[in-house]
Structures are given as structure tokens and as C-alpha cells.
């Protein structure tokens, strides 16, 4: 089937920052994203898990954006401003998409 190359950006960030991140994405012209719940994780700031978390404020989410390559830099710049001081991780993969008109 006909596919088109794109970038898959995966941003793991605190739930409390989610709307700030998606606002920034929309501000950078990125209107397509999917948000996954996260159960737990570990990083430089230590380990946490949804069941063991000391406060309901601590959860994280994963925001996945599929974007055309030419928009990647705008996306990363916008995202970086939000995540900069916060814990989390951002990774980018090459991908192909069906239905290019959709993104």
C-alpha cells in the first residue's frame, strides 16, 4: 500500500504538564497527537508507579505525535520549552504512515 515517510515523536511527561504541552504543540501547528496513560517508570528522578505513588498528582503520560519531517523542528522546539525543566524523555523514530492527508 501507498505510504508516506514521517516522524514519530514520543514524549513522556508528567500528567500535570499535559495540557501545557498540547497547547504548545497546537501553537506550533501540530494538531495531531495521541495520549497514552503510563503505569510507572524510572529515571534520574527515581522510580514511581501509579499504585505506589504518594500523591495522585504524580502520574505521567506519553504523548505521541506523527508529523511530517519538515514540521519536526518546530515541534521539538515547542515541546522542549515545556519539558525543559521537567522530568521526562523525548524520542523520535522514522516511520511511514497511511493516509497522509490525515496528518
Amino acid at each position: 500500500m501507498q505510504t508516506h515517510t514521517a516522524k514519530r515523536v514520543e514524549i513522556t511527561i508528567e500528567k500535570i504538564m499535559q495540557s501545557r504541552l498540547t497547547d504548545a504543540l497546537v501553537g506550533a501547528g501540530v494538531h495531531g497527537y495521541t495520549i497514552l496513560p503510563v503505569f510507572g517508570g524510572s529515571g534520574r528522578s527515581g522510580e514511581w508507579s501509579r499504585s505506589g505513588q504518594i500523591s495522585r498528582a504524580e502520574g505521567m503520560v506519553q504523548v505521541i505525535c506523527i508529523v511530517r519531517e519538515e514540521r519536526l523542528d518546530a515541534l521539538l522546539t515547542a515541546a522542549f520549552k515545556v519539558v525543559e525543566k521537567h522530568i521526562g524523555i523525548v524520542n523520535i523514530t522514522d516511520c511511514e504512515v497511511l493516509r497522509a492527508e490525515r496528518f
Binding site: E14, I16, M17, S19, R20, G46, E47, R50, S51, G52, Q53, I54, S55, R56, A57, E58, K85, H86, I87
Partner: protein, 324 residues
């Protein structure tokens, strides 16, 4: 003194405290016991709704008076003031840097609604009435402390606070639900209460037990993870600050002329530390502060202290002072 001990002993073997202890034990023993997040949130919605509604009904029954307004103002002032007291204490007895000290301090100006609920339930068992509007005072005390904490850090500087965060704090779910239920209780009064009392009154204490089981689990897991981070001086702060806060609350209650029950609740509010609204705000505004420190102190040290020793202490002191 013997009285306080008897009260504390009584309190110690109440199902509520024992459920908290069970959760604590399970967490520290690394059992996989856990209350699903959705259920815990459901329980807290129930508690907020019930406590708010009952407060409103009680105000409807006794009428609104000047003290209500004055108590709200007192609550707001105390919430804004106590972080400064806490900050000074933290900076003098612990090693915490300015940032973490300010973040912790913010928690102690704000309040823990579950501690408030537990105090209410101790009052009820002892047959002591309290002003229904203390629920509204509790709601009013949630947010001002956050501003104080941010002010402690950014004096001069700016940009910690944005409009979004402001709205998130003032309209956070707990405040809206508590105040909303308070108003609904006030509007529908005794009649409204009759319709739903077999939901919000009779099973209340049992639900509180399960909720405290979850609090114990969460506090225990927090202690297991964050306990090492806390030096002895921080822990000392966690048990010293509540009585200090309570002293401010006592003074305000006496000035306002609150009833014995109201005095105990005001002391409990000033003595308790937030672990929901303030941490969330701190993660946004002070991401560099370490959540393990403020959460472990608030939920792992101060919450159990208040639940087990603090509440009976405040009750005993308030009784003594009110010449009861």
C-alpha cells in the same frame, strides 16, 4: 495529661486509625495490596461530597452569621501566614535549601481534608458539635499558602505563576466539589439531607476506613521510597510544625469565639499539611523542588502524626482552654 493519653489511646484503637496502620504495614512489608486509583479517587469524591453537604446543611439549620465571614478571612490569613513560619523553622533547623524549604512550607499553610474529616469523626464520636461552615474555611485555606510559597522563592523575580496555574489552583476538583456540595447542602437543607442520608451519613465512617487504608498504603510506599531522603531534622519539623500551626489556629479560634468543636477543627486545619493541591501546583511552578521531600514529610510524617496523636491533643487542649 491523663486525659490526653486516654483520648489518644482510645483514638489509637479506632477502626479508622487501625485501617491506616494496616495500610502502612502492608506497604512497608511490600505486600501487593492496593486500592485501584479509580476507586481511591471515587472514595475521596464521596468523602468530599458528604462532608461538604453536611456542612452546608448545618449552616442552613443554624443560619449565617458574621463569624462565618470572619472565620473565612482568618483561614485565608492563616494559610498565607503559616508558610512563612514554616519556612523560618525549616531554614533554622534543617539543611533544606531555599527552594525545597519554600516548597515544603507551602504544604503546611494549606490543609489536608482527610485530617479534617478524621477530626470531624472524632468529634462526632465524642458528641461534640462544630460550626458547619468550617468546611468552607477548609476550602478557603487550600490555595493561599501556594502563593506564599511562590512569593518566598521569587521575591522580586517573576514568572512562576501563570493564569492557567492560577485557574487550576482555584478551581481544582477538591475545592469545587467541597464548596459545591456545601452550597447544595445549604440550599436543600435538612430535607435534602433526609433524602440522601443513607448514602452520605450512615456509611460514612466505613468508607473513611477504606480510604485510610489507602492513605496508609500510599504513605507507607512513600516512606519506603522517600524516607531515606529525610534527615532527622526534617522529620522533627514534620512533628513540630503541626502543634505550632495548631497554636495559631487556637488563637484565631479564641479570637473568633468558635465553639469547642470549631476550635478543634480550626486547630486541625492549621496543623495539617496538604498532599494533593499543593504538590500539584509545586510540580508546575517549582519543578526543581524534590517531590519526594515534601510529599514524604506531609503524607508520611505529618499526616500520621495528626491522625494518631495530633487530633486527640488538639481536642484536649481546646477542652482545657475552653474550660470544658
Amino acid at each position: 495529661m491523663a486525659d490526653i493519653l486516654a483520648l489518644a489511646a482510645d483514638n489509637l484503637i479506632s477502626p479508622i486509625v487501625l485501617c491506616f496502620a494496616l495500610g502502612l504495614f502492608a506497604a512497608l512489608a511490600r505486600s501487593d495490596l492496593s486500592i485501584p486509583e479509580a476507586v481511591a479517587k471515587g472514595l475521596s469524591i464521596y468523602l468530599l461530597f458528604a462532608i461538604g453537604f453536611k456542612g452546608g446543611v448545618s449552616v442552613a439549620a443554624h443560619g449565617v452569621d458574621l463569624t462565618l465571614g470572619l472565620s473565612l478571612i482568618a483561614g485565608i490569613i492563616l494559610s498565607a501566614l503559616l508558610p512563612i513560619v514554616a519556612f523560618a523553622l525549616l531554614r533554622s533547623i534543617t539543611q533544606l535549601d531555599r527552594l525545597n524549604a519554600a516548597a515544603v512550607a507551602g504544604h503546611y499553610g494549606s490543609i489536608s481534608i482527610v485530617t479534617f474529616v478524621a477530626a470531624t469523626s472524632v468529634l462526632e464520636s465524642s458528641g461534640i458539635a462544630a460550626e458547619g461552615y468550617m468546611v468552607a474555611v477548609a476550602a478557603a485555606m487550600e490555595a493561599p499558602a501556594i502563593l506564599s510559597a511562590l512569593w518566598l522563592i521569587s521575591r522580586g523575580e517573576s514568572g512562576r505563576m501563570d493564569a492557567n496555574l492560577w485557574r487550576e489552583i482555584m478551581l481544582n476538583g477538591s475545592i469545587v466539589l467541597l464548596v459545591g456540595a456545601f452550597i447544595i447542602g445549604g440550599v436543600t437543607g435538612e430535607e435534602g439531607l433526609k433524602e440522601i442520608s443513607s448514602f452520605i451519613v450512615e456509611p460514612f465512617k466505613g468508607v473513611l476506613c477504606l480510604f485510610l487504608l489507602d492513605m496508609g498504603l500510599v504513605a507507607g510506599r512513600g516512606l519506603a521510597k522517600g524516607g531515606k531522603l529525610l534527615g532527622w531534622s526534617s522529620i522533627a519539623f514534620g512533628v513540630l510544625m503541626p502543634p505550632i500551626g495548631a497554636a495559631f489556629g487556637l488563637a484565631a479560634a479564641l479570637a473568633l469565639g468558635l465553639s469547642l468543636g470549631g476550635t478543634v477543627l480550626m486547630m486541625t486545619l492549621t496543623a495539617s499539611a496538604s498532599y494533593i493541591a499543593v504538590p500539584a501546583a509545586m510540580r508546575v511552578a517549582l519543578p526543581e523542588a524534590n517531590p519526594s521531600i515534601y510529599l514524604t514529610l506531609s503524607l508520611g510524617v505529618t499526616f500520621p502524626f495528626n491522625l494518631v496523636l495530633g487530633i486527640p491533643l488538639y481536642l484536649a487542649v481546646a477542652s482545657a482552654v475552653s474550660g470544658g
